[in-house]
């Protein structure tokens, strides 16, 4: 009965209810889409840069990050891997060996990052095969390499072409060799696409003349686990000979960019919520004040103040629920559509995509379809409605039925 009264009460004034619910759903529509776009953009960046390249956590030999050289590499044995693997929240661990070399083909040459990888582990971690746009994703022979898209274009590489690599080996040794192009990878990151060459980690070790060494342990985490906590746990199990870094420490500019942009979005959401808040408060204020006489009658005939407040609270919650449901239902298909068909910045004007590429981002904005976004904002609206219902609660608490009926 209480529910029935509350439901019918909100439809006493259809126009007012519609305007209130539309203001809630309108604001929620804007907030959800804005946040879906922002968080989808961040997810894409994190996915392309962090998940598929840097990993959420990295372990190096102590001092490697300060001076990135193969001379600051580490030997990774089973015991170390088992110790790290025992930590809660770790999905995969992959070894990498990274060094810098000069690559040349014909008359052309270019500096590049040579990365020795474990293909099977990379596949688990970053869906390696999906990155391959031409040729093979694995290394059948020790002299095979996979080039990133930019390098392949620069040297106009065809499968089977030979490239010469020349660089510094382990502890003063010279690293040089002829390698055959076996595949081309698109790393979805313009900067990485310009300078990365992959080979099997064993080949890379052989190339720099040192067996069993790695420069990085790339650690992928399970969903919803905190990388900061994982890094802390790793620090607790490994000795001081290793340094442990989260992606935010490895790529501080990226983290700062996301944080700054995110704050902008939250300020915008806050402004919209202030508008919603006043709109809802206006409605609740009217719904309360115009019914003081009726409240007086209800108290007279024996309705408790708690029940009376419950009716108003339910009305406020119902009002916001309608707005929230409309907001979620209208944004969901849009979010899904733009998740499947991301916005391409090139469509918004020449050079925009390139400008984003300069920063190392893929010039696309896929919307996030994570339910956390609409649900968290719906929850926030519910909290606002409960907060707003404090006003009628106070009015009812001090309500004198005789005075109310005189009013």
């Amino acid at each position: 009965m209480i529910l029935k009264i509350a439901w019918r009460n909100i439809w006493r004034n259809n126009k007012r209810t519609l305007i209130s619910t539309l203001s809630i759903s309108g604001a929620l529509f804007l907030v959800i889409l804005m946040r879906s776009m922002q968080l989808g953009f961040y997810d894409n960046i994190i996915n392309t840069i962090v998940q598929s390249y840097s990993g959420y956590v990295q372990v190096h030999a102590d001092g490697y990050w300060e001076k990135q050289s193969v001379n600051n590499s580490m030997e990774v044995d089973e015991q170390l891997l088992n110790e790290i693997n025992s930590i809660n929240g770790i999905e995969n661990i992959a070894k990498r060996l990274t060094t810098f070399s000069l690559v040349s083909k014909g008359e052309k040459s270019k500096g590049s990052i040579i990365t020795g990888i474990e293909v099977k582990k990379e596949q688990l971690m970053s869906d390696w095969e999906k990155k391959i746009i031409e040729g093979s994703s694995s290394f059948d022979n020790s002299n095979e390499i996979i080039l990133s898209k930019g390098i392949a274009e620069y040297f106009d590489v065809k499968m089977g072409d030979t490239l010469v690599l020349f660089g510094q080996g382990y502890q003063g040794m010279m690293a040089a060799g002829k390698f055959v192009a076996n595949g081309i990878a698109d790393l979805n990151n313009p900067k990485l696409n310009e300078m990365t060459i992959f080979m099997d980690i064993k080949s890379a070790q052989e190339y720099i003349s040192s067996e069993n060494i790695s420069t990085h342990l790339i650690i992928d985490k399970k969903e919803y686990y905190d990388e900061k906590k994982i890094a802390e746990d790793i620090r607790n199990v490994v000795s001081n000979d290793y340094e442990v870094m989260t992606w935010k420490e490895i790529l501080p500019e990226l983290d700062q960019m996301i944080t700054a942009d995110n704050v902008g979005g939250l300020i915008m959401a806050f402004i919209l919520y202030v508008i919603v808040c006043f709109g809802m408060f206006g409605t609740v204020l009217m719904m309360t004040e115009e019914r003081m006489y009726e409240f007086g009658v209800l108290l007279s005939i024996g309705m408790g103040k708690v029940k009376l407040y419950l009716i108003i609270l339910l009305e406020t919650i119902m009002l916001s629920s309608i707005g929230v449901i409309i907001g979620i239902l209208t944004t969901r298909p849009i979010s899904i559509y733009f998740n499947k068909n991301p916005i391409n910045m090139d469509d918004f004007g020449e050079g925009l995509g390139e400008a984003m590429g300069e920063f190392g981002f893929d010039p696309i904005i896929p919307f996030s379809t994570n339910w956390d976004i609409p649900l968290s904002h719906a929850l926030f609206i519910f909290c606002i409605s409960i907060l707003i219902s404090i006003y009628p609660a106070i009015r009812i608490l001090y309500l004198n039925p005789v005075k109310a009926m005189k009013e």
């Binding site: 029935k4 009460n9 439809w11 006493r12 006489y293 007279s300 024996g302 103040k305 029940k307 005789v402």
Partner: protein
């Protein structure tokens, strides 16, 4: 039995103190059909509000069945009203979003009746006031007289010991008034429910078996017919 002892209610109107009820001593026995009459501002409604626990007396006591209700807390008073007093107001005051039947059931719901009990009793009460065919209509779809009959049924829903009716016929035409008074009179005689009216209406005064006249908050006449 309803009893008031040296009941006083003073209001402040600007800098003036208005004695709405002034030292009223009144005893109303069970089963009485009493009208409180007097000119506007004589204190009829205030007296009824104090007796019904809607207003707190400035001094004096309201005693119902040996319980001094004027000292009850707000919450206790609400419960007491729910279980012991039925109210009928001049402006009917039905809940506009509920049907006639639901308006009656709401009181029983607050008392904790189950669905079947509520259903049966609300139909009985609607029959009692001759509104059985209009149970699904909302107040806006009923005439003033019909609304007031539903209000009487609502007042009876909680099985109260007595009903306080504040100018119940003020907005009704003569036909509706006669019908309403017939119903109230019948309920008074058959169910021994005590009725206490405040009224100007001669038609009500004529039907009352006791008429208490107030002037400036004081009882100036108390006639039992």
């Amino acid at each position: 039995m309803i009893e008031t002892q040296k009941l006083k209610k003073t209001y402040k109107q600007g800098s003036l103190k208005v004695k709405a009820v002034d030292n009223v001593n009144l005893k109303i026995s069970d089963g009485e059909f009493t009208a409180v009459v007097g000119p506007s501002g004589s204190g009829k409604t205030t007296l009824l509000n104090c007796v019904g626990g809607l207003d707190i007396p400035t001094s004096g006591k309201v005693i119902i069945d040996d319980e001094v209700i004027s000292s009850y807390s707000s919450d206790k008073m609400i419960k007491f009203r729910l279980n012991n007093i039925g109210f009928v107001f001049q402006a009917y005051n039905l809940i506009p979003v509920l049907t006639a039947k639901e308006n009656i059931e709401m009181v029983m719901l607050m008392q904790g009746y189950n669905k079947q009990e509520m259903d049966e009793r609300s139909i009985d009460l609607l029959n009692e006031v001759g509104m059985e065919n209009m149970s699904k209509r909302r107040p806006a779809e009923l005439s003033g007289g019909q609304q007031q009959r539903v209000a009487v049924a609502r007042a009876l829903a909680s099985k109260p010991k007595f009903i306080l009716a504040d100018e119940p016929t003020a907005n009704l035409d003569s036909k509706s008034t006669a019908k309403l008074l017939d119903i109230m009179s019948r309920l008074n005689k058959q169910e021994n429910i005590t009725f206490l009216f405040s009224t100007h209406d001669q038609r009500v005064i004529d039907r009352a078996r006791r008429v208490v006249t107030l002037e400036d908050g004081k009882i100036i006449k108390d006639i039992k017919k």
